[in-house]
């Protein structure tokens, strides 16, 4: 079956430091990977959509300088939260889109706590 592994599951970092998270699609080819942040209030924000061999498209309020993304092949993507501050807290989720069906599969998320 189609699975998405995301790690680390949780990180506690000091204000101003960075956190890198990785997303691995297993059992399928992901044509695109969408990175989301779920706030403590449970609201989802789309950060960026990354399609292999295309430019990464960031949503308003999110930039490559703050959230650089790497998407080298159809099964792996990573994103870093640079200079994390309190407002960056939340659960970061990657959604990998299956090439054949178009369905999104999610990892378990990487929870970021900033002290």
């Amino acid at each position: 079956g189609a699975l998405v592994y995301q790690y680390p599951r949780r990180t506690i970092c000091k204000s101003g430091t960075s956190m890198r998270m990785e997303c691995q699609a297993v059992g399928f080819q992901a044509t695109s990977v969408a990175w989301y942040r779920q706030s403590p209030q449970k609201t989802f924000e789309l950060i960026a959509l990354s399609t292999v061999n295309s430019a990464i498209k960031y949503e308003q309020n999110f930039t490559q300088e703050k959230f650089p993304i790497s998407h080298p092949n159809l099964s792996f993507s990573s994103m870093t939260v640079l200079n994390a501050y309190l407002e960056d807290r939340g659960l970061y989720l990657c959604g990998a889109r299956q090439q054949n069906t178009g369905q999104l599969y999610f990892g378990e998320g990487s929870k970021l706590t900033v002290l």
Partner: protein, 110 residues
């Protein structure tokens, strides 16, 4: 702005009863996906629809095929294990972006 409006935001159901969740879209959407988020934060995919209806056990989902501006998730004979937070996510045509609703927190009570 919010492309996806999900309702209700919270719902309590007695075991054995039926109910429905709904997502309205501010524009025509290409597809919709429904998820349940468990206590660990994992998003479990329930349905993915480009049109029509799908059914799986006590759950059934429909996506308005005509105007493509709303979707519903029906829960039949609610059980305690159905408790959780349900999200819909809708895809804009041509952009491949899925936008989430704000979720429905469902509590099934004995």
């Amino acid at each position: 702005g919010d492309q996806v409006e999900q309702s209700p935001s919270a719902l309590s159901l007695h075991e054995g009863t039926d109910s429905a969740l709904r997502c309205n879209f501010t524009t025509t959407m290409r597809s919709v996906q429904w998820f349940r988020q468990n206590s660990r934060g994992s998003l479990i995919s329930l349905f993915y629809l480009a049109s029509g209806t799908k059914e799986n056990g006590r759950l059934k989902s429909a996506f308005d095929s005509k105007e493509r501006r709303y979707s519903t998730l029906h829960i039949r004979d609610a059980q305690l294990e159905d408790s959780g937070t349900y999200f819909c996510a809708a895809e804009e045509p041509g952009y491949q972006n899925f936008y989430f609703g704000k979720g429905t927190s469902l509590t099934v009570i004995p």
